[in-house]
Symmetry: C2
Subunit: 157 residues, 2 copies
DNA sequence: AATAATAGTTATTGACTATAACTATTATCC
DNA sequence: GGATAATAGTTATAGTCAATAACTATTATT
């Protein structure tokens, strides 16, 4: 027999009814994301990285010579907002910007050794942080989740 | 035989390598969310609702008499940011605020008939918009996704 | 050669979130 | 029972972030 007959309450926190929001995928996605994001932000901040700068650094590390427009496309952000981020990564010696000889409008971005090492280290920390949150998901559920999310992304194009 | 031998390109859009981000759940969640959110925003704007005001209206409609602090808890937002949102819902005649006699610090929030009708209509539009994006997911994948997302949410508490 | 489009940049704006400080009211603890 | 804590709502403000427009330099188009 439970300690209380009233299952609508859980140790003083009354259950709030919800007939609509919980069935919306956007709502569920946002709330799940909000569980993960602050932790990712926190571990990245230890290396003075924001989530967005880590994302940039990571894509640059995987694509030596990528130019800013392509990076902006890949990360679905405005190229104007990229500028200061790349500025900072460059000043910290994590990436280099050099003119493309065949098209002098463009700058080729390349991660330095330091940049690649930081990326790898930061990625490990983010993975660890994520694993602590999603730990209870077994490998099958996790793989299924990732696959479905990837399909959701691909929907528009 | 494919039209082109080079599968790394898809009609002029070069594939960007990614060895790290795509394996991160936070990254995938955000990108999936970003597919849905603008559409939800768009259809709600037709009824002069923001996503957050729709969320408030919906929870109030499901919980007649809920007070602002409880609502803020349920939606994981700051109660200070709730004030102007409730102000507007009240001015539009969608919810009422009335003093709780037993605790005069609190205001009981209740959705009006108009508020409930608008909530129902807006929810239908959001569901329709979501269905167009996730249309290709079958019922099984959809149910699995929702269940896993719900478990992710519950992890911290 | 004239005109378009593209890449990068700068500056600015609006939206949203978080924080601190305040008032009124209720709960708590000697 | 009275001093002190905590809570609910509110206001104002500051920081973060994404979106936009305007500009220069360079390349592509016609």
């Amino acid at each position: 027999m439970p300690q209380t007959d009233d299952l609508s309450e859980d140790r003083g926190r009354p259950t709030v009814e919800d007939t609509v929001l919980g069935e919306l995928i956007g709502y569920r996605l946002k709330r799940a994301y909000m569980q993960i994001q602050p932790e990712a932000q926190r571990v990245l901040a230890e290396d003075d990285l924001r989530v967005v700068s880590f994302s940039c650094l990571s894509i640059i590390a995987d694509n030596a010579g990528i130019v800013q427009s392509e990076l902006a496309d890949a990360l679905q952000m405005e190229r104007s907002n990229l500028v200061v981020i790349i500025d900072e990564l460059e000043q910290r010696g994590l990436v280099t910007r050099k003119k493309v000889p065949t098209d002098r409008r463009r700058y080729a971005l390349t991660a330095t050794l330091r940049g690649r090492r930081l990326r790898d280290r930061a990625a490990d920390k983010v993975r660890t942080a994520e694993d602590q949150i999603i730990g209870r998901l077994d490998d099958k559920d996790r793989a299924h989740l990732m696959a479905v999310l990837e399909r959701l992304e691909a929907k528009t194009r």
